[in-house]
Symmetry: C2
Subunit: 181 residues, 2 copies
């Protein structure tokens, strides 16, 4: 069976202790969403595929009358995950950000609109920094103290990236304002 990044994402989430599909999705939204988004409609079939391949095992784990399945990674799954982590072959990263495409063509706009566009963009990146610091870092920081350091390193990295962008946009905004004054 062919394993793709979403497979390893699920495998990895199970490894760090998340158990149900719903829980995996929630965890991924809080942590890996920024560099690999995943929807619930991907998680459930992926769990089925991985179980069929023997990389994970599932058992019923109802919560009262509410159905729930708890999965755990098997030795084979662990091995597959480690092989992938050591693998140096990567597909090229992909970014799709409509706002930056817009910015690329912003020369077509009058100066005022350019400034407004840049400001909006800066503000949204600043907001994202705040969101990461408030929602992601407290959790990843706790994990770091427990010896799991990479999630927090990634959270800091994300925050740094958004800060860098916000900073560059702030500079650009100032330049545009000065030139139009």
């Amino acid at each position: 069976m062919k394993l793709r990044p979403p497979s390893y994402l699920v495998l990895g989430m199970l490894r760090i202790g998340l158990r149900s599909g719903y829980e995996i999705k929630r965890g991924a939204d809080r942590s890996t969403k920024h560099f690999w988004p995943m929807s619930l409609a991907q998680v459930y079939p992926e769990l089925a595929r991985l179980e069929e391949a023997g990389l994970i095992t599932g058992r019923d784990d109802p919560h009262g009358a509410r159905a729930r399945r708890a999965y755990a990674i098997t030795d084979e799954g662990n091995e597959a995950l480690l092989d992938w982590l050591r693998d140096s072959h990567d597909e090229p990263p992909q970014v799709r950000d409509e706002r930056l495409v817009r910015l690329f063509f912003a020369d077509a706009l009058p100066r005022d609109d350019q400034i407004a566009l840049v400001r909006r963009l800066r503000e949204s990146h600043e907001a994202e920094v705040t969101r990461i610091q408030e929602e992601v870092m407290p959790i990843s920081s706790a994990a770091e103290e427990a010896g799991t350091i990479f999630p927090h390193a990634l959270a800091r990295l994300s925050s740094d990236i958004f800060s860098t962008i916000a900073g560059a946009l702030d500079e650009l905004e100032t330049r545009l304002s000065d030139e139009s004054a």
Copy 2:
């Protein structure tokens, strides 16, 4: 007709003077690829759609015996582009970077493999900075001197982002090496 970011990408490329589908694809690879990749198999149908909608016009423009079509943006196309540039509604940006997912789960690896992984990643980001500076910036810089400033601003932004990531990875690498020593 519904216009999506690739439509505006094509429209924008025509606006800045690129004419054939092939030329648009080449230009996009050099400039907007980092925040919105596009394949030739998207460009040609998109050109047909835009022409049908009256946003661009195409004429045959053979080069010797080699067929070629030259497109130009119409007034309606220009208006649509400007409307989009002013529009503040964005779909959320999407990043898919397998390498960062790998890094997120790197706690599962022995220290040596962690260091190797971080180093590889840092090196590839440094290489990307170099690539942008050598291949993209000379062109965007020339455009900037001619009064088209945003492409160069975006090139600098891309370069800054990759530098930031490389810097953070370098720091992480040092930390991992120190702790294991």
